[in-house]
């Protein structure tokens, strides 16, 4: 019985691969060692800064998959898939901005599609290639084509090839999906005098493998990881239990 229960819990989960360390120890602990590669992670945008957070997650995943490949001479690419509408509304990806965050513009391949359906099918193609570093997929709102089946398909393809996919959802309500983790991200402000690195308030609102929590994270582009900012203005939520009532997030 215990075995069966264990098998059921593992069903549909991506195969075990070395996790992507995000840097902040408490966050990595909640995630079970770091962000799981070869899985679908959803980032819901609370405001403008979420796209930066999603890009950073994808960057870290791409870097970590490069480090784990048999040879480290080939640098793995980050694919960024976005419908044209996104660029018009939310701005184009700036290679300089990416470089400033510690990413490598040489390794960025941008896929601009006509609509969300094309973006999903391109994403499935990209996830089929195991030499891709990571995939960042931007979807605005809740298009019809992005249903449970589509997200299952993405999660499965990611699990097969081991490519991490970060899906950035702007202007969307949280709804059932096959994502392994789901984040709600907005910007945060810390009170100190100098103009510091960007700070995010990231909350894990769903995690199929365990802990939830709310974190205040500051990006450290020098070391390429997240840190706890020096002067936390927002009280961090407890890591060992959900910050909010979990019942509505057990939808699947």
């Amino acid at each position: 019985m215990a075995e069966l229960r264990h098998a059921l819990a593992q069903y549909g989960l991506p195969p075990d691969r070395p996790s992507v360390m995000l840097g902040e120890p408490r966050l990595d602990a909640v995630l079970g060692g770091g962000l799981r590669p070869g899985a679908l992670h959803e980032v819901f945008a609370g405001d403008w800064s979420a796209s930066g957070f999603a890009a950073l997650l994808a960057l870290l995943a791409a870097q970590s998959s490069t480090a784990q490949s048999s040879t480290d001479r080939i640098r793995k690419s980050l694919f960024w898939v976005r419908p044209d509408y996104e660029a018009m509304e939310y701005g184009a990806v700036s290679p300089h901005g990416l470089a400033e965050l510690g990413g490598d513009p040489n390794r960025l391949i941008l896929v601009r599609t006509r609509n969300a359906a094309d973006a999903l099918s391109a994403a499935n193609d990209i996830l089929g290639c195991e030499h891709v570093g990571a995939l960042l997929l931007e979807v605005e709102g809740a298009p019809k084509c992005l249903d449970l089946v589509a997200s299952r398909r993405l999660a499965f393809a990611a699990g097969e090839s081991g490519v991490t996919v970060v899906m950035l959802r702007g202007g969307a309500d949280i709804e059932p999906s096959a994502a392994l983790t789901r984040w709600q991200v907005s910007s945060a402000r810390i009170e100190n005098d100098d103009w510091g690195a960007p700070v995010f308030e990231a909350e894990i609102v769903r995690h199929r493998l365990g802990g939830l929590g709310r974190f205040l994270l500051q990006w450290d582009s020098e070391h390429g990881c997240f840190n706890t900012p020096d002067h936390g203005a927002v009280a961090a939520a407890p890591a060992d239990r959900p910050a909010y009532a979990p019942c509505q997030r057990r939808a699947i």
């Binding site: 896929v111 990209i126 290639c129 510091g196 690195a197």
Partner: protein
């Protein structure tokens, strides 16, 4: 070649054309010709001679489009088809005639097939284009043996020279009535009288010189084609045919040590329509299955799918651009494999969505933020050359980005209030939302390229709102230069 117009009606039909301000007979039916009308006659005279007469105005654009379509259709005989406006086509059949059972058989096949489509057609085969041109008009169905052009065109009237009214009058005046007689004169005499152009054309016509033809479409480096006695319709057969063509093309490429960069599949429909599909590759390629897969991707992405209609009778695969494959120094690690897989993925995506949609960034030597990096098709560039060395002062100690991750397509104007004229904004309205600035960094002054006279100097500020969002704003112009500079929001930080 004239357009045959519909079913015969009672009245003879002429097509009227306009030259200067007068209408004349542009083209006419055989029946009208029997009644004594002729081409070039003033339309009023024609109307006076024959009554009733049906007249339709000439549509030269449609005629030209028709000629293009026929030329497309003729691609099945040879890839070297040249337009000879207004009514002619040259087909360079060098080395192609034996595929159709010899020159005579090919000529009758071409004329018969075009005739079946309801067109009046005359054709001839000769060693030079101008000789063929003259023979097709004045002695159709002639096939000259090699070197026999002079003999073949000798009996033709001097009108076949098509040298203009003035020269024709001069020749008539001299009593020269056929080309043979003209050619018998000393060339120096003719040059003196009629100019060097006339003699040059005459030489080409007699087969002494050749004028090169410019084919309509670039000549492929390699091609493979398959003809079907019975037109094929089903998708399976088309796919099978494409695969066998790709295999034979791949075989040739392999022997030559080359690979294809630009591949085109041409589908010739039995009723004359030709559909072409081109696929571009990031790196030279010779694997037939990969070629087939890219073609399929392209076919699936077509807005109006490939319609076989009554079937395709010829399918051709052309390597428009073939390049040497650099034999990579084979290493035992997986580097090469990984690179090839990514290149193939990029090719596949480009075939499906269009090459301009799959992009890489290339740095530009410009300090203007929106011009500093351009996106180019990822197929064109294997890897960027972005230098990762940060410029001095680009980062301050705190590790905060100086450039936003997102640049708006176009800077958007905001209503901003600044506390001091040269200072950062305190408040601004953007996209109907109010933002209160908690702190700001700047200015970073960026002058436009004065040598291009490209606009005002911008003062950039990084601002953080009360809730922590960071934006990149600039003031367009300096206060002491213009009275009330406007504010724009150009980007959003992470």
């Amino acid at each position: 070649m004239r357009r045959a117009k519909g079913a015969p009606s009672e009245a003879p039909l002429v097509v009227s054309g306009k030259s200067g301000n007068a209408l004349h007979v542009h083209a006419l039916e055989a029946r009208a010709e029997r009644l004594g009308l002729h081409q070039g006659q003033p339309l009023a005279n024609a109307r006076a001679m024959v009554r009733p007469l049906r007249v339709v105005p000439a549509d030269e654009k449609a005629d030209a489009a028709l000629l293009e379509n026929i030329a497309d259709w003729c691609d099945r005989f040879t890839p070297l088809v040249t337009l000879d406006p207004p009514y002619g086509l040259y087909l360079d059949i060098t080395g192609a005639a034996h595929l159709f059972g010899g020159e005579a058989a090919m000529l009758s096949l071409v004329t018969q097939k075009i005739g079946e489509q309801g067109l009046a057609v005359r054709g001839a085969i000769a060693g030079t284009s101008l000789a063929a041109h003259a023979l097709a008009r004045y002695a159709p169905r002639t096939i000259t043996p090699p070197g026999g052009e002079a003999a073949a065109i000798a009996p033709l009237p001097i009108a076949a020279l098509e040298c203009g009214d003035k020269a024709l009058r001069a020749l008539r005046h001299a009593g020269l009535k056929t080309i043979g007689v003209v050619a018998a004169r000393l060339h120096s005499e003719l040059t003196e009288r009629l100019g060097t152009n006339f003699v040059a054309n005459l030489k080409v016509m007699l087969g002494a010189e050749e004028k090169p033809l410019t084919p309509r479409r670039p000549l492929p480096d390699l091609m493979a084609e398959q003809r079907f006695a019975e037109p094929i319709v089903t998708e399976d057969l088309i796919a099978a045919s494409l695969l066998s063509l790709a295999q034979s093309l791949g075989g040739i490429l392999e022997r030559q040590g080359r690979g294809v960069r630009l591949l085109e599949a041409a589908f010739f429909r039995a009723d004359g329509k030709v559909t072409r599909i081109a696929v571009k590759m990031g790196a030279p390629l010779r694997d037939p299955r990969v070629m087939l897969r890219l073609l399929r991707q392209r076919l699936d992405a077509l807005a109006d799918p490939l319609d076989p209609g009554f079937g395709f009778d010829v399918i051709r695969l052309e390597a428009l651009l073939a390049q040497d494959i650099q034999p990579a120094t084979s290493s035992f690690d997986s580097d090469e494999n990984a690179r090839a897989q990514i290149a193939f993925l990029v090719d596949r995506l480009s075939a499906r969505f269009g090459e301009h949609r799959i992009q890489r960034f290339v740095p530009q030597d410009s300090h203007i933020p929106e011009a500093a990096g351009v996106a180019i098709p990822a197929q064109d560039r294997d890897f960027g050359e972005w230098s990762l060395k940060r410029q001095p002062g680009f980062m301050n100690g705190s590790g905060a980005p100086r450039r936003p991750l997102r640049l708006l397509e176009k800077p958007e104007e905001v209503q901003a209030i600044a506390s001091v004229p040269d200072g950062p904004p305190r408040q601004f309205r953007w996209r109907r939302a109010q933002f209160d600035v908690a702190r700001a960094e700047g200015p970073e002054r960026i002058a436009m390229e004065w040598w291009k006279n490209a606009g005002l100097t911008r003062d950039y500020f990084r601002v953080e709102t009360q809730d922590g969002q960071r934006f990149w704003l600039y003031r367009d112009g300096l206060y002491h230069q213009i009275g009330a500079p406007r504010w724009y929001l150009q980007g959003v930080f992470a």
